[in-house]
Symmetry: C2
Subunit: 301 residues, 2 copies
């Protein structure tokens, strides 16, 4: 274990506002109205679009006097090419005052990139983490992004990260900045009921990995003290992130098997949706890591 | 117990971003720089001003090229008169781009009212909760408010509420709106070390009451379903608020007596500061209540 000479004494915590529960996604028009927006782009993938949820949400937004359009070209596991297509669409059809992402992590991450590149100058590679990209920070504020997860796993609604594959380099990387975080997460378990068992299982393992990796991440106190400009959203495990991770694991333990076996069990779906949200709030601040295959290892050591 | 005919299924959760730990208050200049502000008003009371902390924070902000002034006229337990004086000062010396409250709940609550009334038209009584005031909602966005608690109790850094005494009516009431919530809570246990034992004890009981009242508040599901425009920041006990409350009580159990007896115990002061923050994050969403003197009572019943 590395012992810092001047240990970090400060941790940070950020989160979107949360609206959780059955029916929460039927109130997005009202919520967007609070931000004083006029033109709203709803981003989703073709599979989620086929469930009808994104169109319902767009209609509901329009009912509050706003203009809302659906873009269903999100690529599952976004690539630089799919993000460029979405950004190109948003730039050509904009300006947009707000974005709503309906779907799994792919839709939410795509919306983060679209929000960034339609409010800030430059191109995608300018903002991708170094050394793949230039790791540039946004110079202008972003527009409000509302994230509506339809899988119980991603946690992207809570994080500052957009993950993508850069096809030409055969590498998976990301864009990370505090301004990418959605302003509001609308978690409606009703939207997750149609996940097939395999998706429920895979997404549930995602929750478990998020919570465990966040809980066992190096503690923030194990780093050298950072200057304020060196702070990053993923600051290491800390008392706040630990609490979310513990509770996510507890919820999983009580609901994961039921949600896979009986997809229509509303209570299990609700607990899984809450577990995914909690794990996102934890790892969105502590960070995740590649667990080492060391058989016996003290926590955070 | 009242059983709703159409029970609420949605709860909401909001919180400021958090920067926690020894030395956190020495980074406020950098943090304010992220909001692109130029003129910053630091609000405090005379007692806290005498510790030198507000002046140090203002100097540190000025070191980042911003103009910062200290207003130390906050009244401990704010009144309509003391708020009007602070609002008058801010309006006359403004416009201000951001506010920093350094102190207990009185300073933070005063800053909320000053922020509201220097960004929105009308007078104090227009915004005070009905039926005492007109219960008007702000029509314009507020400026960023950074809350820096120096007592371990208030929780005001996390809430949407400003509490005040209306002297002419001999009544304690408040102003509550989601926009009053600070954007950033900077919780630096170093600033809490000078609390005398009586203050540590009284403020610690405040934590306990916040956590217990929030934990035993009527659950959100015990209310009739609200329309989105009827939702209030205090939505009843819920899984998120419960988690904060439980953890606040656990932290208190391990640190309260030590913090009162040995005010220089940094670990106990840190745990109390965290407990106060957690309790604020809980009751700032669930709400508080007047516990009923019923000896045996099932939870939330």
């Amino acid at each position: 274990m590395i012992v810092p000479s001047n240990p970090e004494s400060v941790f940070t915590y950020g989160a979107p506002a949360l609206k959780f529960g059955s029916g929460a996604s039927a109130e997005i028009g009202f919520d967007l109205g609070q931000y004083g927006v006029r033109r709203v782009l709803v981003l989703t993938d073709a599979g989620v679009a086929a469930t009808g949820a994104p169109a319902r949400i767009a209609e509901q937004i329009a009912g509050f006097g706003m203009h809302a359009e659906v873009y269903d070209g999100v690529h599952v596991e976004p690539t630089d090419e799919s993000l460029l297509a979405a950004i190109g669409h948003a730039r050509a059809s904009g300006p947009w005052d707000a974005f709503v992402a309906v779907g799994g992590g792919s839709s939410i991450d795509t919306a983060k990139a679209v929000n960034l590149l339609s409010t800030n100058p430059g191109e995608l590679m300018d903002y991708i983490n170094a050394p793949i990209g230039a790791g540039r920070a946004p110079s202008h504020p972003l527009k409000p992004l509302v994230a509506v997860p339809t899988t119980t796993g991603t946690g992207s609604e809570s994080t500052t990260i957009c993950v993508l594959d850069v096809l030409g380099l055969k590498v998976k990387t990301g864009i990370s900045h505090a301004r990418l975080r959605p302003v509001l997460a609308v978690v409606d378990p009703d939207l997750t009921m149609t996940q097939p068992p395999e998706v429920t299982a895979a997404a549930g393992m995602d929750i478990l990995c998020h919570a465990l990796e966040s809980y066992t991440a190096r503690p923030y106190t194990s780093y050298e003290r950072r200057r304020p400009e060196e702070r990053v959203p993923y600051c290491g495990s800390n008392p706040v992130a630990d609490m979310w991770s513990e509770q996510a694991i507890r919820l999983l333990a009580g609901s994961f098997r039921t949600a896979v076996r009986r997809g229509d069990d509303a209570e299990a779906r609700g607990a899984m949706a809450l577990a995914a949200t909690f794990a996102g709030l934890g790892f969105g601040n502590a960070g995740v890591h590649i667990p080492q295959p060391t058989p016996i290892r003290s926590r955070g050591g």
